[in-house]
Symmetry: C2
Subunit: 229 residues, 2 copies
Amino acid sequence: MSYTYEYPRVALTVDGVVFGLDGGELKVLLIERGIAPFKGQWALPGGFVHENETLEAAVARELEEEAGLHGVFLEQLYTFGAVRRDPRERIVSVAYYALVNLADHTTRAATDAADARWFPAARPPGLAFDHAEILTMALQRLRGKLRYEPVGFELLPEKFTLTQLQQLYESVLGVPLDKRNFRKKVLGFDLLIPLEETFRDGPHRPAQLFRFDPARYEQLKQEGFHFEL
Amino acid sequence: MSYTYEYPRVALTVDGVVFGLDGGELKVLLIERGIAPFKGQWALPGGFVHENETLEAAVARELEEEAGLHGVFLEQLYTFGAVRRDPRERIVSVAYYALVNLADHTTRAATDAADARWFPAARPPGLAFDHAEILTMALQRLRGKLRYEPVGFELLPEKFTLTQLQQLYESVLGVPLDKRNFRKKVLGFDLLIPLEETFRDGPHRPAQLFRFDPARYEQLKQEGFHFEL
DNA sequence: CCAAAAGTGTTCAGGCTACACCCATGT
DNA sequence: ACATGGGTGTAGCCTGAACACTTTTGG
């Protein structure tokens, strides 16, 4: 590393791909741009990184400011550095993806600036900049994560039924799963705690509610346990 | 994204974690720093991103300048943005990892600046900045990639034996593998082309040489094939 | 002929897949 | 009583793990 004290500086932004689950469909949160370029188009929430904040803090702040979201699961996705990705000048952007429980957050899109809305993640409107590419990568990553790590619970309310969990997997992965096999496997991990309560929904048998046990997961990870599907 | 035309800019660097395989041991390429801070300590090769180059181009350039490497396998690892990771000022760094075939490249470390050497990846010397953390993450990533994608060939010469391939997996993953099972599985993928040649090494039966078939891999990927181990 | 690494098959256990019916409830 | 989703077990198959000897060569 040949550091000197004069060097080029670039503008650095963060962007957040926020996923939520709405009635079994995976959604993504988009913001309507109020200014040029791409004025009036939809874009991922995001903005410039301040001098004294970490990248993750910057995304968290932007999500709070632009959509009233806080305390969500955040993970770095990829850094996009194509030279002309912003028409004005060179801007490098570090993208994160976030998982939120829509039941708790659905009401609070749009506090800042223009409009904010949830769109089907699989068929978004035309997006500003290279945000379509970012979204595509985030979707791929989410699918991968879901298979190999128990992050799906971040998209569900704290108490959920096995059917909800199965529908989550089916809609994100895009494949139907066998009910009996799914339940056998998931319960076999011993990561779900059955609650006393049940969930009443309609004219049928009420469903058992569960919650995820993160402490147990940490313990299993130590022991070399490998979550899959 | 509330872009304005005045915003903070940060210094942006790239760092490269270059892995090579030397006699069955995984090595990493380090550069001795010629200037403060951390003068005399070992660090990952890297440097500032120029205004008109992509991130990947920047790493490729630095690897060429500092170690004479070119045409290596490169993949983005993670972006490190802790506020005080550089003692002088805020510097964000996009880390990449690279896989090189040491047989072809071993002779040419150190063309630029100070010294450049290969160290055992599992027990490196003390490293400058947060480079130890970057190296650790790169190692984890390499292990993951190796299991789920056929990238190991990047570390081997174009023609290699199954024993070489197995040793690569054993030393990177850190576990012994059964010879018969390994061969059965690897050959079952139909991704290796047996060559006419054999490899003579010592007073024993010569080994069949193979080469990896990238086209075949692309084809299989289309068909929903899933490489593992 | 000896030493050294290359190469090769079978058995067994555990996990994955496929598949159909009864249960609890609300109307 | 009926409609609706919740909940459960088994049998066949396939994959992964364990395991030892013969082959080819150089010295």
